[in-house]
Point group: C2
Chain length 447, copies 2
């Protein structure tokens, strides 16, 4: 399907069949066109561009991936880029400029219309993952004393150029955001009423420096189509629309899953081999430290192991189960933190539940393991020792699995990033120490 | 802040100050009111209900959590519930009914208006996580030959009762969905034009049985505010709105993270101790199987370990690093699958990259580990063996970390659920076998 489209479009371009190209594109979404174009080499891309109205090309580029946007713009002269930008929204332009070298960015900005330049430079000033960094400046804001009749006129005028039409932002004379008006209410209100009569004054808004994760959480909680961004004087700076919020949620989720697995959020399965080495090796080296700590712990008991070699065979069970139980607690807590459901201050008492769980699950798994080892090696004391060690290690797993992410959160370190390394260290080192330590204490019974 | 509101509202209820309660609620969002009410006991809740207009109460209940909805309805008589439902949308009613015992559900349905009953029963027929299960039947659908003037009249009429106003769904005479019209375009079109003149015929739609994850992916890809759900005859059945899509994305993500950590998607940090035991213990028991496999593998080499006890101390390093490297690959692949970026058929060649990565990262970590073990035990052969075993284990980790989730996907098993257990088995069993097997082969050099 995708390959068919790509080949078909390629042929049409090669044969200069402009009308057919335009007809073909008519039945496709800009995002799907962008996906096809990303596979083209520069020659085809440049030729394609020459067939397409600049407005349509701008729409396609707005939907394309970052890398492709930059690649495409590099095919153009500066003045062509500026013409191109005239058809794009200021927040998209700011995003693109933010990824260009400073020299080119400055050159382009000086060539653009001064009104846009100012707004774009303001947008460029916000961090990429803040409300200001993801907001758009295309919204409808009207004065509170505007009549419904005039409001409708204004909406017809501005509507086509704006991203959100179903919510109108209402400003007072000082240009402060004082309410929002729902287009539904505007449509049915008497024509002589004013916006202030029908607006809702309970406005959820954010400051431009607010983290995008918080912005997404608010939009999701209040089922908003867009959330206004205001400065400290309550002046409206822009809005963040729900489609960008979805991107934020997906991005933050990707980050969490990858970080939990010890991968950088920038890596993808199809990153180059070199990139993958550079991104993954450091994490493996950090983990090597943990592995050596575990190894040294075992090393302390080499004399015991040399006398009772069955201990070596039982070691992977102790470490493995501690790791598994700890992961369970860790996943739950990390997810609860991401959903804003839990904090150390409010919920620290839940650690006692995790400890109880460690005792009960540990006893269960411990009895089972103890019995099998008893049957295998014929020594009941080995079974009893692993039973006790299993309870101990699962308590440790629950205790640290619960507390580590919450403490990291308080320290403003991403729990998804660093929790697992501390947890593994805890369960491995304590787990081995407990198991082999008990074995050493009761060595005479094991021989 | 939250506690203040709760206490204030409690006092107002106790002192029967109805007007102040209503004034207080005026400044709060329904979702925030619901959060406060969830903390009330039944007595306060019932009294609160008696102060509030039924319409406002219905709005609050629509926003509340599932458990609270059921708890609240249990306070009401059947006829009260039916009156209550009259103020709620059919999809919310269907969701609530779906969670009630069949007897009560049937009793309520027979008491309701017959038109609603039919629609609700249809909604109840769809799986909870399908497009049909999350769609709403509140949308605006108009005939294609309707004039713009009449369209605007209709929108004013239906608009206030509908969830989405900025997109109008356009039907032909056979009631098939033939296009969508953007309210922006309707507002600026000449009054005598028809909907068919301005509608967009490229409609992205889904079938009611479509999985909610696919629905979310489409809405996110095409930046939609809502996606229409049509049957096989292309008749419009409902729409899924973007706010529900956000819930789906967050829910699916929670599921993925919890499953990767070996926890059921139904568990939360504050689930009861008994629930947590019931949910987590089965997973630990399954993992115990893996741990025993690893243990048996080690057991095969007990004679070697008893002669070179340093091997026992090095074991955690081999197993740990294999697990870490495998997790890296696994996280990347599982996330790429969730984002629809990768499939076994299209991307199987990437396994060679993972294998190369295993060789390179394994060599790096292996040299480092080998040198430290050489320094610690003074035997170069132990270092060489762990170097070779490390490369082997990281290749295994990359190979299985890449293929396991993709194969599970083909078999229609959730990769997030079962991948880690197979991967751990592979890295532990092969890892130990390789390391201890090499040690056995070169035993004379190690003594």
């Amino acid at each position: 399907m995708f390959e068919d489209r790509k080949e078909l479009l390629k042929n049409l371009i090669q044969e200069d069949r402009k009308d057919e190209i335009l007809g073909f594109l008519d039945r496709m979404y800009p995002i799907d066109i962008a996906t096809v174009l990303e596979e083209f080499d520069d020659e085809y891309l440049y030729k394609f561009k020459s067939f397409i109205p600049i407005e349509q090309m701008a729409e396609i580029i707005e939907q394309a991936g970052e890398k492709f946007q930059i690649r495409f713009l590099k095919l153009l002269h500066y003045d062509e880029i500026v013409t191109f930008f005239a058809y794009m929204s200021n927040d998209d332009i700011a995003d693109i400029l933010g990824r260009l070298p400073i020299k080119i960015r400055k050159a382009l900005l000086t060539m653009m219309k001064s009104g846009d330049t100012k707004q774009i430079q303001e947008l460029l000033g916000y961090a990429e993952d803040s409300a200001g960094g993801i907001m758009t400046t295309e919204y409808i804001a009207l004065k509170e004393d505007l009549s419904i009749a005039d409001t409708l006129k204004k909406i017809k005028e501005i509507g086509p150029k704006t991203e959100v039409i179903e919510t109108i932002y209402v400003l007072n004379r000082k240009k402060e955001l004082v309410g929002i008006a729902d287009l539904r209410d505007i449509l049915i209100a008497p024509e002589n009423q004013k916006l202030m009569d029908i607006m809702n004054e309970n406005v959820v808004s954010v400051k431009p420096e607010e983290d995008q994760e918080i912005v997404a959480w608010l939009v999701s909680k209040y089922d908003l189509n867009a959330i206004p961004v205001v400065n400290h004087r309550n002046s409206l700076l822009g809005i963040v629309t729900v489609d960008d919020i979805i991107d934020v949620i997906v991005e933050e989720q990707t980050e969490d899953i990858l970080r939990l697995g010890g991968v950088s959020k920038e890596e993808r399965v199809d990153s180059s081999l070199f990139t993958s080495i550079r991104k993954r090796l450091p994490w493996l080296i950090i983990n090597l430290g943990t592995a050596f700590l575990a190894s040294f712990t075992v090393g302390l008991f080499e004399d015991v192991i040399s006398q009772v070699v069955a201990l070596a065979a039982a070691m992977p069970i102790v470490a493995g189960m501690g790791g598994n139980a700890g992961s369970q607690t860790l996943s739950l807590v990390i997810r609860s933190i991401a959903l804003g459901e839990i904090s150390l201050k409010k919920n620290w008492k839940l650690v006692f539940k995790e400890i109880s769980l460690g005792v009960i699950n540990g006893a269960f798994i411990g009895i089972f393991t103890g019995m099998i080892l008893y049957m295998r090696y014929g020594n009941p004391y080995l079974g009893i020792i692993i039973f006790a060690a299993m309870i101990g290690n699962l308590v440790i797993a629950g205790f640290f699995g619960f507390l580590i992410p919450l403490i990291l959160k308080v320290l403003r370190v991403d729990p998804a990033l660093a929790s697992s390394i501390f947890l593994t260290t805890a369960t491995d080192v304590f787990g081995f120490f407990l198991f082999l330590g008990l074995a050493k204490m009761f060595l005479p019974y094991l021989l």
